[in-house]
Subunit: 132 residues, 3 copies
């Protein structure tokens, strides 16, 4: 079974904390021990796990990604969003988190982020939960 989460981004580049939504999917699955897989069905977005406490951290990551993957003059793709495709492949469109006692086993500072690189858009996150 695949659960879908809707995410609406409001900026071109934005990290949206989806930890709570993913935990709801885990809770509703009734799986106590296993793995939660997160897949992004888009090519100008990504998913990452990083600090959830200080919002400046993800702002800084976005700043760094924009320096790392600027809009290059050499780009040939006509839509003008190749920088976003590059960021998607660098950060990655899938991850997985362990489930223990019905809870996502994240580190103290970890949160799960949907990464928008070509917003604003209505996006989707796919989740699959496998029992151990």
């Amino acid at each position: 079974m695949v659960t879908k989460i809707s995410v609406n981004s409001t900026k071109k580049d934005e990290f949206i904390n989806i930890t709570r939504d993913v935990q709801i999917a885990v809770t509703e699955s009734n799986v106590k021990h296993g793995i939660c897989y997160i897949h992004i069905p888009h090519t100008t977005a990504a998913v990452t796990v990083n600090e959830g406490a200080d919002p400046d951290v993800v702002t800084d990551i976005l700043t760094a990604l924009n320096k790392l993957s600027p809009q290059l003059r050499e780009f040939r793709h006509m839509e003008g969003n190749s920088d976003a495709h590059v960021k998607s492949s660098l950060v990655g469109i899938s991850t997985s988190v362990f489930i223990e006692n019905g809870t996502l086993l994240l580190g103290t500072w970890q949160a799960i982020y949907f990464c928008e690189f070509d917003g604003p858009r209505n996006r989707s996150v796919q989740i699959k939960i496998i029992e151990e």
Copy 2:
């Protein structure tokens, strides 16, 4: 069980669309619902999921990766391919895609790419399919 796909790259840097080969492995496994894992057993290659429609997108990603990870004067590894090892760790050597009704659950624009960073070479892709 592990299924192997052979990939022959023809350039130093090249993205090769392997979606069809991975789907054949899924179809032959007879698994209707589950997860398809893709592992690259090489250290100067990678696997990514990105746009499959316009071939300019992967050309642009390769252009960006070459700017991002140039051959640096400080590199010490004697084989002269450290830039390729860097790209491999940035893009990553493993991913997974959900299977629904015997089909890879990819987004409309998504395709699976073998990423060659030190070709041309004969390469191998390992696939494992787990039933839900």
Copy 3:
């Protein structure tokens, strides 16, 4: 079940080969065929699979990552380690390796590395092994 490995880094940036520790966890699990998942519960560290033969390769990867993700003047996070958070999201905090006949199915040159980007610290690696 989740197995934990302790890793003690001794530098700010360091790749520590944990292949042997992960293989011990696989052996002790008695799982012959399946998947070994590796999760890093930290936000300034990562996990990667890359060359284990020549130690110059990981030195070169660290050199490249430091150029790629420098400490930027624009960074706002007060702890001063945003460069490490960026590297964590670029390299990624989770990976998985296939298990065949009780052994990690790595390529000839592949090793599993814990990636420290904000050491020295006492760190933890989480492992989950799923039978096929």
